[in-house]
């Protein structure tokens, strides 16, 4: 892993994770809401785990509670790196 992680790299990780969780790839955009993608709290718990494993950043349930869109998630992760 490079020491500098770009937002594009984070976006790629988030999108790949959402696809793994079963979200429709055609619907995944930065503005897409998790509600529209049928992504729920269990998926976000899994995403937090993937982020932790990839970047060593710990996101708690309270951190992701306000995350509503793909863009929110990418920005939150980027802000913690």
């Amino acid at each position: 892993m490079s020491t500098v992680t770009s937002e594009e790299q984070i976006e790629k990780l988030v999108i790949e994770s959402l696809e793994t969780f079963g979200a429709d790839p055609d619907l995944i955009t930065r503005d897409a809401t998790f509600e529209a993608l049928d992504i729920d709290s269990l998926d976000l718990a899994e995403l937090s785990q993937i982020v932790h494993e990839s970047y060593g950043v710990e996101l708690k349930g309270s951190d992701v509670a306000d995350v509503k869109t793909v863009d929110d998630a990418v920005k939150l992760i980027a802000s913690r790196l």
């Binding site: 969780f21 079963g22 979200a23 049928d38 269990l42 718990a45 899994e46 785990q49 932790h52 494993e53």
Partner: protein
Amino acid sequence: MHVVSEQVVVTGVGAVTPLGVGARTLHERWSAGAVGIRDGEAPCADFEPTDFLTAKAARRADRFTQLAIAACAEALADAGWDADGELPYAPERVGCVLGTGIGGIATLVDGQDTLRERGAECVSPLSVPLMMSNAGAGALSMRHGLRGPSFAVSSACASGAHALGCALRMLQCGEADAVVAGGSEAGLTPLARAAFGALDALSPSGVSRPFDARRDGFVMGEGAAVMVLERADAARERHARVLGAIRGYGASSDAHHLTAPRDDGAGQAAAIGAALADAGVAAEEVDYVNAHGTSTPLNDRAETRAIKLALGEHAGRIPVTSTKSAIGHLLGAAGAVEAVATLLALRDRIAPPTLGLSEPDDGLDLDYVPGAARPLSAGGERPALGLSNSFGFGGHNAVLCVEAA
């Protein structure tokens, strides 16, 4: 609680078994002498979870839940329910009881492997909701909007029968108008193989031959079955097609040993007697017995004694056959799968065979219908009536009395 004591009818059945997807597939292939055992195990090789579930739903379900979802979809369609639309009853009047002996063991093993190899932080948040024994009941309830009581029951290899018995009681005491009930199991993992193997319960030869002198243990299988049970008056009101009735249910415990049945069969006989009494029928009215028939030395001897104890001389006059000779032992699903098989056999007035049986053991002298199915000589024109026996480790005995419509 008001006691209604209403008759309970079966309006739909579904099954996924080692003989294929579908309740009729099980009945027809078993009756034709097909065996779903390969290399000493009985997997549901034809089952593709994504035929029934979206990718998202599939990864949110352990295999035992996936099997239950498929069996349930078939049962609801068979009952004429709109699985994706409005239920024929108020949702809070529809319950769900699903038996499982083990629950999500593959998920449990995955979680343990992850814990050991990658650490606690990597154990999936889906571990608990997938492995819990009630995951199947929860999934069926959520999927179809069943908002009455829903839960799992667990009594090892009697779980499926206890689940149906429990559903029967819920309907009889007026707790629900319909209950979606059955059993599910998906235990074909190295851990389960090793654990049952350590008990000398599994067949080293990999052959299921109940009641045979050469029988050497059970063959482990996987699968699920679901029945839609409705109060008879409610089913009549909605002009449902009725397949049959669960006439009675009897349960008892050996209180004897963790794994071995009482050798004299008295505990099992008590459950058979209780089922007959509950149904209000005499032993002489029984046309067919679907035996627990595991192919283990202990069960088949004790069960033969139990059937004789409970039915007296009539035991020798009727066919007694084992579904496990065709599909192995589906553990917590077995009681439900065999109840479905019993009902379809009674409807078609046929006694499916005990396969693999060529040399009955000393003292095992009932009519096990070896090798090939036989027409059921049920008395006159009346609907055929049968028993489905299920007995579990822990000494749990559950017997259902089933009647064709």
